[in-house]
């Protein structure tokens, strides 16, 4: 089973990387871009089948390590391999 975890800078938290990316796109003429936020995609390969409490377990992984919840939000999607 594959789980995709998305970690993004929280709303209101300055994202200098995103700003630089938006600026870069504007410089290339993509003036439609007003803002960009840069996050991370973490792909986890899990053993075994779908467990009942899988959501809670992944949430715990995010809170304990994958995201720093002071500055980052996370979300995830579970995909059958």
């Amino acid at each position: 089973m594959i789980v995709e975890v998305y970690v993004t800078p929280k709303k209101g938290v300055l994202d200098p990387q995103g700003k630089a990316v938006a600026h870069g796109l504007n410089s290339l003429g993509f003036n439609v871009v007003k803002d960009a936020r840069v996050g991370k995609l973490i792909t986890l390969k899990l053993e075994g089948g779908l467990k009942k409490d899988l959501n809670a377990e992944i949430e715990e992984m995010c809170k304990k390590l994958l995201a720093n919840t002071v500055i980052e939000d996370f979300s995830f999607s579970i995909k059958e391999a």
């Binding site: 938290v13 300055l14 200098p16 630089a20 390590l65 994958l66 720093n68 002071v70 500055i71």
Partner: protein, 244 residues
């Protein structure tokens, strides 16, 4: 009096810190490898700068899993002095020993320059020899030193006087132009609530000898020495450093 200098894979200010402790401040100090489990027998611990574990995931995030960290957390909780410099500060934050988070510098650049700092709190083991409001000059060298904390957290650290250092102008004024990395409220260093754990982005060990142009940093280590000597005459009991 024995001080531990913690070493992780990727620590790179470890020798500088050990040198200043031993040869400038005259404190008995030694390296403690991250695979050790306990800090028993030490009176204080310093986590030096560097790039522990290549800054993977987030600066300081992986170092938290080193065996020594459990020992360090117990050590800090027992009231022993702990100082984190630069990457050491990032590690203390990721380990939950200090509040807040450190973001990428506002201008996305790795900053290597001198800064002026105002010393806001002097009643900690590392700042006893400073006077409150004193302006000092120290170097910074980091890519992720942009201090952030949410509104509630900011109120809390201000209320409990946990903001230790702020980036200021040479004459001690708070200005955006003297805030090198975009830190919230120009915060350069904080302590935990009881004041025994301190972290800062600037490098005191790099300004501890005349040959480097200034000795402002030396006071951190001399303050620690004074503090440890004073403990021998009056033992620590409870929250000696409670600021509020």
């Amino acid at each position: 009096m024995r001080v531990a200098v913690l070493r992780f894979p990727g620590s790179n200010c470890d020798f500088d810190t050990l040198h200043v402790l031993r040869n400038v401040a005259g404190i008995d100090a030694e390296f403690v490898w991250h695979k050790e489990r306990s800090l028993r027998g030490y009176d204080a611990a310093i986590i030096p700068g560097g790039f522990s574990y290549g800054d993977y995931l987030r600066s300081g995030a992986i170092a938290r899993f080193s065996p020594i960290m459990k020992g360090l957390i117990r050590f800090a909780q027992s009231g022993k002095p702990v100082l984190g410099i630069c990457n050491g500060f990032q590690i203390l934050i990721e380990a939950g020993l200090l509040p807040g988070a450190l973001l990428r510098n506002k201008n996305l650049k790795f900053l290597c320059q001198s800064v002026h700092l105002k010393v806001e709190m002097v009643d900690t083991p590392f700042t006893g020899l400073f006077s409150k409001g004193e302006v000092i000059e120290l170097p910074i060298a980091h890519g992720e030193g942009n201090y952030f904390i949410d509104k509630a957290g900011l109120k809390e650290i201000e209320d409990y006087c946990q903001v230790m250092f702020r980036y200021v102008s040479k004459d001690g004024k708070l200005k955006d132009s003297d805030n090198p990395n975009g830190s919230l409220c120009s915060i350069a260093g904080v302590s935990n609530r009881s004041g025994n754990v301190v972290g800062l982005m600037p490098h005191p060990e790099r300004r501890s000898e005349e040959i480097f142009g200034s000795t402002d940093g030396k006071k951190f280590f001399e303050s620690l020495k004074n503090y440890l000597i004073s403990l021998k005459t009056k033992p620590l009991s409870g929250e000696v450093f409670a600021h509020a």
